[in-house]
Symmetry: C2
Subunit: 706 residues, 2 copies
């Protein structure tokens, strides 16, 4: 699955902190292009396609951003929005109750009245982009100190954003930083907040094949979901929406993806990639493998264990697959050679430049190298202590948050650790006082494993380890800590939080005492990581971005920033281990896959698919792959043809695409889509949802209400 949220955890664990510099040497159908700077030349030369102003505006305004972390598109003039089932999953979960499990069983509103309003879902549609780089730069004189420059920039950005009229509170204006500060663009969005659920299939067909097939291809997933945007209590009337293609796509055809890639790190230097390849990813994968085996083995002991571990297990497996794929890319000498070539070109440009302000930027490479060296020294202890892997439990997380809150909150706002700033207090409190269930046995399992890992990492004779274990084995110590700590009780946490330092000091809770025991070391590691790794790198990457911008200007595209981008490529199979992997799968393949697995989970078919097999045209294309440049955040993006007609719906990348974080590749990396023909076939024949199919194909309009 390609979604931002899923990868979020990992970003924190391995600490990828960096700016947004740009890519330089383009390869094949590379690029996540800005709508105000599209690859017109390339499209004309390679595909003889004119990306006209009208075409671009139409696609841009048909595209929808899900602020929960995905993409979507308008697919009818009456506000129908298409996205992935896994993008809508949170909303399906929130709308479910004890009697109705819409996430698992699906949903179909047969009338407008049956459409259910979502809770706190916001959709954005990009109306306009304005380049405000000069205005921003003029407001920030060159001679200012770093701190003053930062303040001056924030001020002018706020002014620009506030200048956009928003009488009805339906406009959102953001100044977006691109090319790591090379350009500033003002993005103005139309904001929709009345969103209603229209249709979702069963999770079993949306995520068919589950974890075993996640990031794999061939696939058979009907990962779709439909919402409708309302205005003034009625379906919104939409000028720009995507029409449905009558014939879908075919091999070698040009396809576009309009969506919101979340983050790429294509400006990473070789030193950083080598760190990730040789140290960061291997160390992370060791832990992920360990967690997967731990949780898997525990889950197999009972169904209740499995239920308790399920969410974490899914996150671990998803992350593991993603990192295995990314690492495989970094270990591919062809890919690395391209990165080295690109870096050499930039370095030569800097070295041979006449302007001293460019020439001096070259030192940035060494700064990154030095920072990566330091990061390698710190990462293991940092991960154990400050990232908390040694104390892998809800109890510890609460205990440390309470301990630190008692120390941080009395300080002036500007001097606190960032998660305790006034702006973040509401979210901190929400987490601290949450009453989500905590299971002692599960927490003991994780904590014992974390303690064992830390003990073997440092060596069990280490004085800090001995203090932490306090004369006990990891298992016994974990049991003692979890069973004696009162951190499980939200009321107790609330009492301590409100009682401040005195209450925390007198709490006499063993988990708080453990957090206290390691806090000096943890804070020191954090401070070292921030000042010796993150900050030097932030500055160095800003310098490199400047150099890149001097070399390429805006002739290329900036790193992904969860803003709207246009990608393109061909529908195309690929070769893996000497075997040709075809571009398309069919509905017939779905039944075959289920049969190969004796219909066992996660390859079992939902009853509706079993019942209607004979009605379906089994030659209908189901999923397909193309070479478009996508990344997490693109989930739910429409795939369209030259006529801007829907031919598919992005829902994943294959495992080889996971290197796209660092570099574009079209040899094996592919974007995965649900075929538009499968969507219609399933709506009409499996779900008897002719109303939606007719709306998609323009055969039906929603009657005006009231």
């Amino acid at each position: 699955m390609v979604r931002i949220r899923q990868l979020g955890m990992i970003v924190v664990i391995i600490g990828l902190y960096m700016g947004d510099p740009t890519q330089s040497i383009l390869c094949g159908d590379e690029g996540m292009w800005l709508f105000n700077n599209p690859p017109k030349k390339h499209l004309k030369e390679k595909y003889n396609f004119d990306a006209t102003k009208e075409w671009l505006e139409h696609v841009q305004k048909s595209s929808v951003r899900f602020n929960s972390g995905g993409s979507g598109s308008f697919v009818s003039p009456d506000g129908l929005v298409m996205t992935n089932h896994h993008v809508g999953a949170d909303d399906l979960q929130k709308l479910s109750n004890e009697k109705k499990n819409y996430l698992r069983d699906g949903f179909h509103a047969k009338t407008l009245a049956e459409e259910i309003p979502c809770k706190a879902l916001e959709l954005n549609v990009l109306l306009s982009i304005k380049n405000v780089t000069d205005q921003v730069n003029q407001a920030v004189p060159k001679n200012l100190s770093g701190k003053d420059a930062f303040a001056a920039r924030q001020k002018i950005i706020s002014e620009i954003e506030s200048s956009v009229a928003d009488e009805k509170n339906s406009i959102r204006a953001d100044v977006v930083t691109l090319y790591a500060g090379g350009e500033y663009h003002l993005y103005t969005f139309k904001k929709y907040t009345d969103i209603r659920l229209v249709f979702a299939p069963e999770q079993q067909i949306a995520f068919y094949g589950g974890d075993p097939d996640n990031f794999e291809y061939p696939r058979f997933d009907l990962d779709m979901c439909f919402f409708r945007v309302y205005e003034n209590g009625k379906p919104a009337k939409i000028e720009h929406y995507l029409k449905w293609s009558a014939n879908g796509s075919k091999e070698d055809e040009l396809a576009f993806v309009s969506g919101h890639p979340g983050r790429t790190n294509r400006q990473n230097t070789i030193a950083e990639l080598e760190y990730l390849r040789d140290i960061g990813y291997p160390y992370l994968l060791q832990r992920l493998n360990r967690y997967e085996v731990l949780l898997g083995s525990w889950s197999e002991r009972s169904e209740e264990n499995r239920r308790r571990a399920r969410e974490l297990m899914f996150g671990v497996q998803n992350s593991r697959k993603a990192r295995v794929g990314g690492l495989a890319g970094l270990l591919d000498p062809t890919i690395m050679a391209r990165k080295i070539k690109e870096e050499t070109q930039l370095l030569e440009f800097i070295k041979n430049n006449d302007k001293p302000e460019i020439k001096e930027l070259g030192s940035a490479f060494d700064v990154v190298k030095k920072a990566e060296k330091r990061r390698a020294e710190l990462i293991k202890d940092y991960t154990m202590l400050e990232a908390g892997s040694a104390f892998f439990s809800a109890h510890f997380n609460y205990a440390r948050a309470l301990l630190r809150a008692s120390e941080e909150l009395p300080k002036p706002n500007g001097e606190r650790l960032r998660e305790f700033s006034n702006a973040r207090l509401p979210s901190l409190k929400q987490q601290l006082f949450s009453d989500e269930p905590i299971y002692d046995d599960f927490e003991t399992l994780k904590l014992a494993d974390g303690l064992s890992l830390f003990a073997t990492q440092r060596g069990a004779n280490d004085p800090m380890i001995q203090k932490i274990l306090n004369g006990k084995s990891p298992r016994d110590r974990a049991f003692e800590l979890i069973s004696k700590s009162k951190m499980k009780d939200p009321e107790f946490r609330k009492k301590l939080f409100e009682g401040g330092k005195k209450a925390v000091d007198e709490a006499n809770d063993p988990m708080i005492e453990l957090a206290r025991l390691v806090d000096a070391d943890s804070r020191k590691l954090r401070q070292e990581m921030e000042s010796e790794v993150e900050e030097p790198k932030r500055q160095a990457y800003a310098q490199l971005a400047k150099a890149r911008y001097a070399l390429y200007g805006s002739s290329t595209y900036p790193d992904a920033t969860f803003t709207l981008r246009l990608a393109f490529g061909q529908v195309k199979g690929y070769t893996e281990d000497g075997q040709k992997v075809p571009a398309f799968t069919t509905m017939s393949g779905l039944y075959q896959r289920s049969k190969e697995h004796q219909d066992k989970p996660p390859f079992d078919l939902p009853p509706r698919f079993v019942a209607c097999k004979d009605k379906l045209d089994l030659t209908t294309p189901f999923n397909f792959v193309c070479t478009a440049d996508i990344i997490g955040g693109n989930s739910g993006s429409p795939v369209i043809n030259k006529n801007a007609e829907v031919v598919g719906l992005i829902f994943d990348g294959n495992i080889q695409s996971l290197v796209l974080d660092f570099i574009y590749d079209d040899v094996q990396a592919r974007a995965l889509s649900v075929d538009s023909r499968a969507i219609l076939e399933a709506l009409r024949k499996v779900y008897e949802a002719n109303d939606i199919a007719d709306e998609l194909t323009g055969k039906k309009r929603i009657a005006p209400q009231n």
Copy 2:
């Protein structure tokens, strides 16, 4: 499961090479006692039990060794032998064919005529033990060089063994080295080679709960199997056999285990234990976790994948559980403190000893410490190259064996690598020319993973890595090697082997070229490991054994050597995470566990158990635990009461017992047995095998034949 074979692989990987010195400070019901040196005093004092000469002789002669790696016992005067299903599994497999899967479905010979002769199974019964230490030592004068002493010792041992009359070729005589050379005993065995299969239940009930429940407790396994020994084509008439207890055992009752523990390492110094705890086990577990995730994720993609990976997966999971348990013990400060106390006592004894030949032994501790330091430096590269983890594939193993055979075989026998000695040639050829199926996709998967692991371990810029990968990614390189190598073809291997160096040199096989590329480095690592780690340790441990023997003499028991031992302890539950784990489970618990898991594999019940539920007395005790000191090799040992009556059948240890490799513990470590009452209940009511039940309980004799 507690069997030697399962743990074999790991022993090779982490290279535990050592002698057999003795344990010193006894704890609780510790000990794997020699039958000619039983713990009479302890048994009398603590349990008021007289282990008379008659009792000991009876138990000794009722005990049976399975030379395939397990234990058993005579349980009728007509040659009936009881052991575990998993000890008999190899034989069940060999006797099965396309029509009859006895391993999976079980077997019951209703008449003697239906009993099936096993292939190449040998059982031994220990007849007598004679201490020949003086005779051996007198034949080895003190002034001989190491090499000459070795030869002289071999000579006298051969003479002693040959002196035992064996007119009917039914006697086996072994001089056994105990206390690492402190004593030599002549063991004389009666040898049985006509063994026939009598009864086995379904594997699903014998290994109920599969991997999730392996090494766990509570358990519900009917892990039993019955054979019969024949002489001259008739059931052997057995004087010493164990009678069946009418009432089984009960909480706190004394129980004995008579069996063949395979190997323990209780003489390990603290330096070695710290190496294992902080380096050896964590490094091994990283790889086991990695394999488990790799194989698991591949298995989930298709049933055929699962079938191909099954055997390796089971080995990996079994090893992983065993090592997690062992590591948990090493991380327990209480256990480590006991080892330190013991080592300090020995060191003080040596230091304060008046005899110079004892005093000088103290340096051995430093020798081990230095060797462990060197081992830590070598282990990662050694594992990758010489142990071959970097090239994890059948193809590489064959290629290297052929390459080395072409270099080693022309050398004089004494100068070859040991696996190429004349004595081992038949087994080498058997492996090399085996036609067991090899699957390219599975081998590619493993090889790609091995190459990735090695690349990240050394860093992908390492010159050796670059040579190995040859400009390709691990995955592409693995695919190239596997698809282009002809190692899969047994005929090709045979041709190369017989063609010698010239044929191998001209084979033009990429896997042989890869083996050649790394062979100099591999051989160097092996040589360093042997000369700087193994040999110094072998010598040092022999010195420490000498010191221990000087301190304790034979007042204790020697390390396990797969010879007959007597262990004892109490039937006793334990406490885990504050929960009491009762000593006994019941048949009712079996049905409950199945229900908890909705009867899903591996918790599904065999149809016979479903059908006969109502007939069973569900209060019948099923499995139980006791504190007896056991280890791999004890599988199939009888558990008997003071009257030498069968109350149970050893089949496993719990996960906490895995530390028994290094030290005895009775806090949580437990031996797991099938209750004798469950055996009878199942035989009578589930399998309608009243004939066997009657034979066990003495109600039926086998009528004389002919």
